[in-house]
Symmetry: C2
Subunit: 275 residues, 2 copies
């Protein structure tokens, strides 16, 4: 089965001295003018970003939504992007941000999409249907299953903070994942950078588990508070994801250089908290 | 903006005297041998099923997972399937079963996929991120947003039945949808046929809202109990969805006829409870 997602991630963190993950979330209207009207604009945009940043990230994270918006053509460019990373930079893991979750027999289809068609190392998943429904994902011992726990959006407390036995729902999700869904040591969780106190709360429940942290950059999450709250005792255990603030740092011919500079700036800040 | 999803659904229910929705969920290994090796097997399978059943259903419901499993090619056949229904049988609404749900800016991409690329009338959505995150969907006043409330899988109670103030989570979801998310009268909910008591509970909260009911057929939900619990005072208000038990009723050259017979059988049972 080769190296697991978590092992590969750990190696990339060491090799590139980075906890930074770049979200590859292209939008046609925001692409640099010289890319926008090319054939396969998303792939060309992504390829330039990947080539410019592959030595300073621990992972890439394309979000399926941005590709689906362009239909079959978009999906083909998503595959080409994933294949490019797998072939050219095989040491860098790819996370498919897809937030899937259906009944078991249907999840088989999504698992095939992510793990066999796109060949990504990990996928983000909704917890609402419960752990048993996620079996087709959880059974893939060499992949990473990243369960939504506390999301970064401003109103995520509407359901996620409802109290059951005095504890918020997101904490029950975390407990189920840690105690019951992670039997094969392939689970991670999503916790938004916009909620550092909740992050500290969940870090208190597990030192080992890796958390994917969206919400820095455009969403306004505080990087310092996030790292203080979320780093584990090895000064690891977080995948800090930035999308728009990095990939759209520039809008001209130098967009990839500008993205690299912004990624380095973020990674320098992150690493200050790791020493 | 044309006729809304809910209006079109209501007209199809009247025209075909049917609450039955057929789930178009093809799987290569289960296709009839004479279809399996053709070019565009999913589209050809679906087309035959649609032609054979278009006068006895109220909607079709392709599940995106089965198409994504075949990557860009599968998505192209999903689009061709949707386009075929829109063009040939424009009076029959199409529901995309996709169970999406991300932060707002990302949900824009999914809304474009469903409503502008595939041009479906409705989509299924996860509630976990809260109502505000779903704004890009909820703002589409002419479409249907079908929120997961109580799902049909055997272990759906793991999170959905956690009690908050003495009420299960799924009931809080239902209350939020009914009171706050449905401002534009375009929300529906998913409630599994496998939980008729929960269905009765939620029907008690709203006579108007339409529920999408998966879980009859292979999943074992009881049709009689479901209808008794879920029909509203107009003997409507339900979309009874069957997938595998109908589309794989036969596996030979007569598969579409066999599907039609099974669909008629189900619809006859359903209609007995409506009179």
């Amino acid at each position: 089965m080769g190296v697991t997602f978590l092992k590969k991630l750990d190696q990339a963190v060491t090799q590139n001295n980075s906890l930074l993950c770049i979200g590859l979330d292209p939008v046609i209207d925001k692409l640099p003018p010289h890319i926008k009207n090319l054939h396969k604009p998303f792939f060309k945009f992504n390829k330039a970003l990947i080539d410019a940043t592959q030595d300073i990230v621990c992972a890439y994270k394309p979000n399926s939504a941005f590709y689906e918006a362009r239909g079959a053509e978009g999906i083909a460019e998503l595959k080409e992007t994933c294949d490019y990373i797998h072939d050219r930079y095989p040491e860098i893991p790819v996370i498919l941000d897809a937030k899937r979750g259906d009944i078991g027999s249907t999840n088989e289809g999504y698992a095939i999409y992510a793990f066999d068609y796109l060949r990504v190392g990990a996928i983000t998943l909704h917890p609402y249907l419960g752990g048993a429904s996620l079996t087709p994902f959880l059974d893939r011992v060499d992949r990473g299953l990243i369960i939504l726990c506390k999301t970064s959006n401003p109103d995520s407390d509407e359901l996620q903070s409802l109290l059951h036995n005095g504890k918020p729902l997101y904490e029950h999700v975390a407990r189920q994942v840690i105690r019951n869904w992670n039997k094969k040591n392939n689970c991670l969780m999503v916790i938004g950078a916009t909620y550092p106190e909740d992050l500290a709360n969940i870090r208190g429940m597990t030192d080992e588990m890796v958390f994917l942290i969206p919400g820095i950059g455009r969403q306004g999450g505080d990087l310092g508070k996030t790292l203080t709250a979320g780093l584990n005792t090895k000064k690891r255990g977080l995948i800090i994801s930035a999308s728009r603030s990095v990939i759209f740092a520039g809008a001209g011919r130098d967009f990839a250089d500008r993205a690299r500079r912004e990624a380095m700036r973020l990674n320098d800040i992150i690493n200050r908290y790791r020493t």
